[in-house]
């Protein structure tokens, strides 16, 4: 899985490409931790090129959301594919995140 992180003035955008399964979830966790360890806790996750997320991936996002909220920050999700969004709802986690259909709205509102 390829992951790009871009630092903006008000937030960081993390853009993973590929599938977030149990093998790839630790990689996403490391990318998020690299941002939060700098004291930056407003993160937009650009999911436009994520084609699969298993429960291991959702747990990484739950951990990140808990940590960011503790530091007055937040993780927001953007551009989630329909099937992935359905499983996010199925596991009862869609209420934990603000979800945007467009990156500009996500970055502008965090």
């Amino acid at each position: 899985m390829e992951i790009t992180t871009t630092e903006y003035k008000n937030c960081d955008v993390i853009h993973p490409i590929g599938r977030v399964d149990s093998a790839g979830a630790p990689q996403l966790e490391a990318a998020i931790n690299a941002v939060t360890q700098l004291g930056r806790h407003k993160i937009v996750l650009d999911m436009s090129e994520v084609t699969f997320v298993s429960s291991a991936g959702w747990w990484v996002l739950i951990g990140a959301q808990k940590n960011c909220k503790k530091h007055r920050g937040e993780v927001v999700l953007a551009c989630i594919e329909t099937g992935i969004r359905a499983s996010l709802k199925l596991v009862g986690m869609d209420d934990y995140f603000r979800i945007y259909d467009e990156m500009t709205a996500a970055v502008g509102n965090i």
Binding site: R19, D21, F52
Partner: protein, 144 residues
Amino acid sequence: MITSITLHLSANLARLAQARQFIHETVQPGCSEEEFIYDLVLAVDEALTNIIVHGYENRDGPIDIQVARLEDGVEIILRDRAMPFDPTQAAPPNLSLPLEQRRRGGLGIYLVKTNTDALNYRRTEDGANELKLVKKYPTRQGKV
């Protein structure tokens, strides 16, 4: 006549991508609806992760994935030789907890159950775990 195709894998999280591709390719000729395939692939991925991480405890071991296309759906049988474990008996997770109280665990099996129409487990006489997942085709699109 129902024919089945089997993939032999070693228990390793790095093999999950190969397993997902195998499910996708064998299921698609029967039903090309993306939501159906995604749900089934996710169920198998979660079941395999459970076998690899909890059954084999991340040690090497054999896993067979057998896929059969039925008239009205797909049947997938996962066989492994890890310690006995019956996922059908696992307690469901509490999905209505607030964020701060959510704790890791239980979601994988929940996704296996909710993304399939039937889930059966048996320990075979020769000491293997056999988990059978059945998912019916969506009613608006039957077998091609």
